[in-house]
């Protein structure tokens, strides 16, 4: 019973943390873009504009809820919900920190679910997010939305392959799909005595491929063909307004957070602190947040630095470069494991 209660508390806390992190991410996006462009950014609401996400939320709620007459109504309403839900659900298996304590002999870890197929869960549920995008684009019954949705789904499917192959290499190396075990494995020893045994040092190619694929997977610049303001008006969310529009964005930012967390978990030792194997869980959580925050910053940083790819170049890159490289990486990894 108390174990169940502890799980419930974890769900509520992590859900709340995710939502506020998504809000913070929108603020960070605007602030970082402003700094990069020599501007100040939002600074009217609260100290240094810190309450801007709240103001945005209030604005979204009070906007008119508009559904186009020719739209497929229930799919139109369902799409943003799927998008946000998929992103929020996939966070369930991310291990944010180590062991908190024990209740009745059951160890309580700082993650909602300690699944044995954690990595698979993230990919499977994250893959559902595509439905949000393509259904939103299709149900809007607008040509730009449909283009955006189709492009997004084509892109996400093709990059998901490389993403999966990168995860596969890690999973093969660690001999498990459980994210906590993968982290513990990186925590437990050192590489050559002076490096932490993070997978980034074992799998540098997979790391680079994985990071680039996460950009494509979350529809971020330079691969944001789902939105593509200059060609497709707003892409799949052209016809959306009010809180439905906001839900798409919560979905996008949550997906970014999940991908940042996943990168940290798979390649940068998750919550492990270098050279401090049995660090208390709160230090581990701090280390995790710092690492994940860097990858969140990378998302924003790249967005405001690089121009958008051309669509055919994106597909070329995905199928002709990334997929062979990822396959070769898996083969090499397999070879090394066999030897």
């Amino acid at each position: 019973m108390t174990v169940l209660l502890a799980s419930l508390i974890k769900v509520v806390v992590i859900f709340g943390a995710m939502m506020s992190a998504a809000g913070l991410a929108t603020l960070a996006e605007r602030k970082v873009s402003a700094w990069i462009q020599h501007r100040i950014g939002p600074n009217r609401v609260g100290p240094f504009g810190a309450l801007q996400p709240l103001a945005d939320g209030v604005k979204f709620i009070f906007k008119e809820e508009f559904v186009p007459e020719s739209a497929t109504r229930w799919l139109f309403i369902l799409a943003p919900a799927i998008s946000a839900m998929a992103a929020l659900m996939s966070v369930a298996v991310i291990p944010f920190g180590g062991l908190i304590g024990e209740i009745d002999g059951t160890p309580i870890y700082l993650s909602i679910a300690d699944l044995d197929i954690g990595a698979l869960w993230i990919v499977a549920i994250g893959g559902l997010g595509i439905y949000g995008v393509i259904l939103g684009g299709w149900a809007s019954n607008s040509k730009y939305s449909l283009f955006g949705g189709l492009r997004a789904s084509a892109q996400m499917i093709s990059y998901e392959l490389s993403l999966l192959l990168c995860i596969l290499a890690i999973a093969a190396m660690s001999d498990t799909l459980n994210l906590r075990d993968i982290v513990e494995l990186q925590n437990s020893n050192t590489l050559l005595g002076f490096l932490p045994a993070w997978n980034i040092f074992y799998q540098p190619l997979a790391f680079v491929l994985f990071v680039v694929c996460t950009f494509a997977e979350t529809n971020r610049h330079p691969f944001d063909f789902a939105e593509c303001e200059s060609e497709l008006v707003g892409g799949f969310h052209t016809e959306y307004s009010s809180m439905k529009f906001a839900l798409f964005f919560i979905g996008e930012y949550c997906a970014m957070i999940v991908m940042a967390c996943l990168t940290v978990t798979l390649f940068l030792g998750g919550y492990s602190v270098p050279f401090w194997e049995d660090a208390p869980w709160y230090i581990g959580l701090g280390a995790f947040v710092v690492k994940a925050a860097f990858f969140m910053f990378l998302f924003l940083w790249v967005r405001w630095s690089l121009p958008r790819f051309r669509y055919d170049q994106l597909m070329d890159l995905g199928w002709k470069v990334f997929l062979p490289l990822a396959l070769a990486n898996v083969l090499l990894t397999g070879l090394f494991i066999l030897l």
Binding site: W35, I36, Q37, H38, I40, V302, S305
Partner: protein, 172 residues
């Protein structure tokens, strides 16, 4: 015919990622620079004598207007923003405007009126803020356009300086 020779890309450039890192370094360096924007209502605009704000009519120390309603500015105005009705006066200059309207919905702040004026009566002030809730409110009449010479001093000196070569021979 121009034959454009495309630069052969090096391997590092073809790989794209090193170039991405180079771009990221530039934007990161930019992040720590001072913002070049101004927080406008709190931080006022920088105004110098070169600032070409809305035209204003110069009023002498003895409260007489310099304008003689010759209509030069009205003709010079490319936006047809100025409307003048002249009238007689007992003062030495004999004529002064009865009506002098500038429609700031039309005015493009070009400064041609200032250049055209033979009596040094109209100057581009440093007043730039312009807002009203009606169109009528933006048509300024003579009373709203009057400014004492002391308020326009900087601009007057500046205009005199740049126009000196042909103003020194003027009979006024």
């Amino acid at each position: 015919m121009v034959i454009v020779k495309r630069k052969e890309l090096t391997l590092a450039e073809k790989l794209y990622l090193p170039e991405v890192v180079r771009g990221l370094r530039i934007t990161l360096a930019k992040m720590f620079k001072k913002p070049s924007t101004r927080q406008y209502p709190e931080e006022p605009l920088i105004k110098t004598e070169v600032t070409r704000g809305q035209p204003r009519l110069a009023v002498n120390e003895d409260d007489t207007i310099r304008c003689v309603s010759c209509g030069m500015c009205e003709i010079a105005c490319p936006a047809y923003a100025i409307t003048i009705d002249g009238g007689e006066t007992d003062r030495f200059i004999e004529r002064e405007p009865k009506r002098f309207d500038i429609d700031f919905l039309r005015c493009i702040l070009c400064g041609f009126c200032e250049e055209a004026c033979p009596k040094d009566a109209i100057f581009m002030s440093d007043e730039l803020e312009l807002a009203d809730t009606t169109r009528k409110g933006l048509i300024y009449n003579i009373d709203r356009l009057k400014r004492p010479v002391s308020a326009l001093k900087k601009r007057i000196d500046y205009v005199k300086k740049i126009n000196d070569r042909w103003r020194t021979s003027s009979s006024t």
